[in-house]
């Protein structure tokens, strides 16, 4: 039994390996890019808009509201990153309804790459909003003693992000594969439906956690902005 789609290798030359994970990831990216380009080609602001534009607007509004609820007051800046994560993971987990499809998120390399991008995005947004030294100062909050623990938490939460997504999706794939050999008639469908639910929840969790980590990094400047707003309003 194959544990991950990494083990299905199509082409191998030197250190370049093209496996099932890469192929599905690129197919998924092409599908999403072409699909959204087709939908957004003729946007309208009339009372009557096309069905697909309505779907996209709902998704974008939903992500914006969630980001704002967590405490980032200007979600336009972050939706390009967090929305991409959420849409990619959600789409790759949702497409398990297709036959012979193994989600690329059931390979540890994909989830590790996604978690690494979160790991790099946190200092990026932190530095770009509040400045280099103000961002470094968040490492010695509340006291200087917490410095090693803050660094450890940065690393461990990246690992946790990667392994959580990988484990959830991989377990769904493996359970379906095991059940197919034991009770191949109806039970795998039920487990696949459960896999759809956990897949969407995991995509949501990944987005939410990325937002929470970014919000923790930029909280200083957010606080300052709120204070200025309060002073202006009084």
């Amino acid at each position: 039994m194959e544990l991950t789609p990494d083990e299905t290798v199509f082409w191998h030359y030197g250190f370049v390996t093209i496996n099932l994970t890469l192929v599905t990831t690129w197919a998924l990216m092409l599908f999403m890019v072409i699909g959204s380009a087709l939908i957004t080609r003729k946007l309208k602001s009339n009372i009557k808009i096309s069905r697909w534009q309505c779907v996209l607007e709902m998704i974008v509004t939903f992500i914006n509201d969630e980001i704002k609820d967590i405490g980032l007051s200007s979600p336009e800046k972050y939706i390009s990153f967090i929305g991409t994560l959420f849409l990619f993971i959600g789409m790759s987990n949702l497409l398990i309804i297709l036959p012979w499809y193994t989600p690329p998120t059931s390979s540890l390399s994909t989830t590790a790459a996604l978690a690494l991008s979160v790991f790099l995005a946190v200092p990026f947004y932190g530095i770009s909003t509040s400045g280099f030294f103000a961002y470094l100062k968040t490492y010695i909050k509340p006291t200087f003693i917490m410095l090693p623990f803050n660094i450890i938490s940065q690393l461990s939460r990246t690992l946790a992000l990667a392994v959580r997504l990988f484990g959830n999706i991989m377990s769904g794939v493996i359970i379906v594969a095991i059940l197919l050999s034991i009770t191949p008639l109806f039970i795998p469908i039920v487990m696949k439906a459960l896999g759809l639910l956990t897949g969407m929840v995991q995509a949501y969790i990944f987005g939410i956690l990325a937002t929470v980590y970014i919000a923790a990094a930029v909280q200083e400047s957010e606080k300052k902005a709120r204070k200025i707003k309060l002073q202006k309003s009084t």
């Binding site: 544990l3 392994v163 959830n168 991989m170 377990s171 929840v201 969790i205």
Partner: protein
């Protein structure tokens, strides 16, 4: 018993125990959290959306501990490093 058998026995037993205990404890805590979330929704139906969102995030965090145990037992069964080391010899 030679070392191959020892490693196989230890891996299988450990994998079973890992998944067993690792599913038992998160199941208990998930039950507790769902129960308290349900009672608080019953008390304040207006806050249902906030409670549900927090509940889902919390459930996924709790469940990830079970998932870690599952990943460890999967590694022990399908991709055991000690087993491959012995076999390669």
């Amino acid at each position: 018993m030679d070392s191959t058998t020892l490693i196989a026995v230890a891996s299988i037993i450990t994998a079973g125990i890992t998944t067993g205990i690792g599913c038992m404890m998160p199941a208990l805590s998930e039950g507790k959290s769902v129960a308290s979330a349900l009672s608080s929704i019953a008390q304040q139906p207006d806050a249902a959306s906030t409670i549900t969102r927090t509940l889902f995030v919390g459930l996924a965090m709790i469940e990830s501990t079970a998932i870690y145990c599952f990943v460890v037992s999967m590694i022990l069964i399908f991709a055991n490093p000690f087993w491959t080391h012995i076999i390669a010899k």
